[in-house]
C-alpha cells in the first residue's frame, strides 16, 4: 500500500482534520488519494516502437450537499494544496446544513491479489514475446503485411479518507495484451484484432506460449474479412455469438440502468422499474465480484464493497446501478458501482462486469430458425444515446445466414437498435454463456474505466443492419 503522506509536508492526522472540517455539514464526501504506475510496450512495423512508463500521483477532494457536488483535484499532496481545495469546496457550498452519512458497508473479500504486474516480468522478457509474436505471425505467409502487439500494465493504489478519519484502501493490478494484424490479398486489406487481460500477472494469460492463440485468433478474423462481401442493409434477424458481443447488453440496456440518468429522468428506462423490459428467460446482472476479471473491484472508488447486482430478472427490471450520491437521492443503497477513471474525475455510477445469464437453447437451433439474417461473432466498439434509447455497435466478424445456414462473411457494418425494446425481441437465449477475453473499456462523460461483459448466444428477431447492399 502507498503511504501518501510519507513525503508530504502534511501528516495523516492534519489531513484528517482538514477533511472533517470541510465536510462537517455536508451530506457526504471524501478525500480520494491515488498512486498509479503504468507501462506500455509497443511493437509495430517490425520494431519496438515505444516503451514508456507513467507514474501518477494525486488527490481528489469531494464535498456533497443535497444534489450539489463540489470537487477539486491536484497532483500536489501538500498542506497548501489540500487547504486550497478545501477553500474551493467551501466557497461552492456556502450555507450547508446537512448531516454527514458515516455509514459505509464493510467486507473482507478480495477479488485480486496485491501484486505489481509491471515488475513481475522483465522488460527483456516482454520485448522477447513481442518479437516472437511478430515473427510468428509473419511466418504465416506473405499475406501478413503489418503486425502490432502491445503490453499494457498497471498498478493503482487508492485510499479513501472519510470525515472522522475512516480509511478504506485497495491495490488494483490490471494488464492487457493485444495483437493486431493486417493482411493483404489481391490489393485488398483487412485487419483482425484480439487481446486478453484482467487483474492478474501477465503470465496468468501468456504462459506456455499461449500468446500464439491470441495471434491465431487475430489472424483468423483478418483472414475471414479478406473474403467478406458487402453487408446487407435493412431490418433482419440477428444471431449474436457468446462472449464479447455482450457489449450489445452494455450499450443497449447497461448505460440506461445507471443511477444518475434515472434520477435525472433522462434515461429511457427511468419509469420502467418493476416492469417487463425483456423477454422471459432474460436475466442480466452486473457483477464486480468475479475473481481477477477486468471489471471486478474489491471496493468501488467511494469505498463501498462491490456486489453482484441483479438488473433484470426473467425479463423484469429489478435494480439500477448506484453510487452513494444517486442512491441517497433515490432513497436506496449504493450497489458499489461508484467509479472514476482517476483522481482527476468525479465519481459516477458505472458498470463492472455486465452479464446476461445462460438459457436453454443451442446456437445451432438459433441459426436454423433464421431464413435471412446475420450471425455476428465479434465486435469493435459501441455507443448509446441513453435518452432516445438508440444504440449501435460495429461488427468486426459477421456472416450472412441464408435458409438456416451460415453463409459468406460480410464486411464490418453497424447494427442499430432501440434499447428499451431490443430485449423484448430476444426470442432465444443460448446455453453457452461466455465471458469476454478481458479487453473492454467503457467511456462515459469523458472517463474511461475497465469493464467486462458476458452473454450466451442469443437470437434477436429484428435489428437494423447498416450495410451497403440493398
Amino acid at each position: 500500500m502507498s503511504n501518501f503522506f510519507e513525503k508530504s509536508d502534511v501528516s495523516r492526522k492534519e489531513a484528517e482534520s482538514i477533511i472533517s472540517d470541510t465536510l462537517q455539514k455536508c451530506d457526504d464526501g471524501e478525500l480520494y488519494l491515488e498512486n498509479s504506475k503504468s507501462e506500455s510496450i509497443l511493437l509495430d512495423d517490425n520494431k519496438i516502437k515505444n516503451s514508456s512508463y507513467n507514474s501518477d500521483l494525486g488527490f481528489g477532494f469531494r464535498a456533497i450537499s443535497d444534489e450539489v457536488v463540489a470537487y477539486s483535484h491536484s497532483n500536489e499532496i501538500s498542506k497548501n494544496s489540500l487547504k486550497q481545495s478545501s477553500e474551493n469546496l467551501k466557497s461552492t457550498l456556502k450555507s450547508v446544513k446537512g448531516t454527514y452519512n458515516h455509514e459505509i458497508p464493510k467486507s473482507n473479500k478480495k477479488y485480486y491479489d496485491n501484486i505489481n504486474p509491471i515488475e513481475q516480468k522483465s522488460l527483456n522478457e516482454k520485448i522477447k514475446i513481442l518479437n516472437d509474436v511478430n515473427d510468428y505471425l509473419r511466418s504465416k505467409g506473405n499475406k501478413v503485411k503489418q503486425v502490432t502487439a502491445n503490453f499494457l500494465g498497471e498498478q493503482k493504489s487508492v485510499e479513501i479518507i472519510r470525515s472522522g478519519g475512516e480509511t478504506l484502501s485497495d491495490v488494483r493490478p490490471l494488464v492487457r495484451f493485444n495483437v493486431s494484424v493486417m493482411v493483404e490479398k489481391d490489393g485488398r486489406k483487412e485487419t483482425g484484432v484480439y487481446g486478453v487481460g484482467g487483474r492478474q500477472s501477465y503470465d496468468s494469460y501468456l504462459k506456455d506460449e499461449n500468446w500464439k492463440s491470441v495471434c491465431d485468433e487475430a489472424l483468423r478474423i483478418a483472414s475471414v474479412n479478406l473474403e467478406s462481401k458487402p453487408a446487407p442493409a435493412g431490418e433482419m434477424k440477428v444471431v449474436l455469438g457468446p462472449g464479447w458481443p455482450a457489449i450489445l447488453i452494455h450499450e443497449a440496456v447497461g448505460h440506461g440502468l445507471e443511477g444518475d440518468f434515472n434520477r435525472k429522468k433522462t434515461s429511457a428506462f427511468h419509469n420502467l422499474m418493476g416492469q417487463k423490459v425483456a423477454s422471459e428467460g432474460v436475466t442480466i446482472i452486473d457483477d464486480g465480484t468475479i475473481d481477477n476479471r477486468r471489471g471486478s473491484l474489491t471496493i468501488d472508488d467511494e469505498g463501498t464493497p462491490t456486489e453482484k447486482t441483479v438488473l433484470i430478472e426473467n425479463g423484469i427490471l429489478k435494480n439500477f446501478m448506484q453510487d452513494r450520491l444517486n442512491a441517497r437521492l433515490m432513497k436506496t443503497r449504493s450497489t458499489g458501482s461508484g467509479r472514476r477513471e482517476n483522481y482527476r474525475h468525479i465519481v459516477l455510477p458505472r458498470m463492472r462486469n455486465t452479464m446476461m445469464l445462460s438459457g436453454k437453447q443451442t446456437q445451432e437451433e438459433m441459426i436454423k430458425a433464421v431464413d435471412k439474417g446475420i450471425f455476428a461473432v465479434s465486435f469493435g466498439g459501441g455507443q448509446v444515446d441513453i435518452t432516445s434509447g438508440k444504440f449501435v455497435f460495429n461488427c468486426t466478424e459477421a456472416y450472412e445466414i441464408v435458409n438456416g445456414k451460415i453463409g459468406s462473411p460480410i464486411k464490418g457494418a453497424t447494427l442499430i437498435g432501440d434499447g428499451p425494446s431490443i430485449l423484448k425481441e430476444v426470442s432465444m437465449v443460448g446455453n453457452d454463456m461466455m465471458m469476454d477475453p478481458g479487453i473492454g473499456t467503457c467511456g462515459k462523460a469523458g472517463q474511461g474505466v475497465p469493464v467486462g461483459v458476458a452473454q450466451p448466444s442469443i437470437l434477436i428477431n429484428k435489428m437494423t443492419v447498416g450495410g451497403t447492399k440493398l
Binding site: 494525486g58 450539489v68 497532483n75 520485448i127 485487419t191
Partner: protein, 438 residues
Amino acid sequence: MVKDQEFLETKASYCLGLAKKLGATDSSVIVKNSISETVNFRNKKLDESNRSDDLGLSITTYIGKKKSSISSSNLLNDNLNILIEKCIETTKNTPEDEFNCLPDRDLLAKEVKDLNLYDETHIENNKKIDYLKKLEAAASKDKKIVNTESSFTQNKSNFVLANSEGFCDGYKTSSFTASSVTVAKDEKSMERDYEYSSKCFLKDLDDADELGNLAANQTIRKLSPKKIGSEKIAIIFDKRIAKGVLSIFASAISSSAISRGTSFLKDKVNQKIFSDKINVFDKPDMLKGLGSRNFDSEGVKTDTLKLVDQGILKHYLIDTYNGKKLNLKSNGRCGGTSNLYFENGNISFKDLLNSNSKSLYITETIGHGSNIVTGDYSVGATGFLIENGEFKYPINEITIAGNFKDMFQNITLANDLEFKYATNSPTMLIEGMVVAGK
C-alpha cells in the same frame, strides 16, 4: 495561477541535464500545467463545481538509436531522479530503431509569434453562475424541455517544450467553454441535443440566451421521430458532423498510417481523391484559432499547408520519425493538424438543401464505424427528411454507410464555413450513400 515559464523551464532543464549526466545522447521534455474551473447547472440550479490543477511532465531519452519515455505528475526532484534513471535503464534495454531521432535542427521553430491565444481575464464562479442562469432560463422556456444541463469552463494552460538540441519554448493558452444539453419530451418520445461555444477569449463567447435557445430548439425539433425504409439517398451533413469527415481524412493521411501501410490514402499524393472543387487547408497561425500553434509537439515549425488542391491530395501530415521512414521532411504535424478546414463551396445552404428533391439531413451520428484501412464507413444516425428544400420530419434509428473513397469524390460544399472548432467544414452534401432503416 498557472505556473510561469520560468518554473516550467527550470524543471525542463533539470530533466535534460540529468538525462545527459546519466548517459542519454539526446533527450526531449515537455512540462505542462493546466488549471480548469468548471461550474455545472442542472434544471436551473447549481449541480457541480470542479477545479482541477494538473501539472505533468514527459521525457524521452535516446541513447544512439535506442529510445524510451516516461511521464509523471509528481515533479519533486526526488521522484524525477528515480524516474529518469529508470527511463535510461529502459532505453538501454530497448532495441535500436534506425529512424529514432530528434527533429533536424534546421526545421525547429525559430520565432514564436503572438497568435493571441491567451486571455488574462479570470471569470469568477459567481459570474459563471450568472451566465448559466441566463442560459438555462432560455433553454427551459418551452414546456417540452424536461431537463437541462449546462456547463461553463475556464481553462488556462502553460507549457514548455525543450530538447537537447537547444530548443526551449512554450506559451500560455486559454479557453472559455459554455455548453448546454437539453432533453425534450412528448407523448411518443424523449430526445436530447446540445449547443456549445468555445473561444480563446472570454469576450468572444456566444451569448448565453442564444446558446440556450439553440440547444432547446435543436432538441424540440427532434421529437416524434420516424424510421424510414432502406434506400440509396443523398446525405447532407450538418457542419458539426461534416467536420468529422475531415478528421477521418486527417487520420488517413497521417504519416504513421501511411508508413505502416494502413491507410486507404497511401500512395495517393498528387492524385485526385476529392471532387474537383474541393480545397483543404491546415492553417496553424490563425489569430485566436482553437487549433493554432507556433510549432508542433516536437518543436518543428508549422507552415500553412494546402493539403488538397482542386481535389488533388498534396501532402501527408508528417512527423520526424515517420518522415525519416518515408524519406520525407517533417512538415510540423507531430500531434496532428492545427486549424483544419474545407474551403467554402460556391452554393448557399438553401441551394444545397434544394439540390435533390429528397435528401437526409444528418445532425448526429453514433458509433465508431470508420475504418481507415479500407475506407469503409457505417454509423448510426439521427436527422431530418428533406423534401424540396424543406425540413419534413425527424428521423432516427437508421444507419448510413458508404466508402470514403467514393464519398470524397461525391462531396458538394455550401458556403457557410465558420470557425467554431479546431476542425471545420461547411455544410456538406454527399450523393450516393446507403441508408438502412426499416
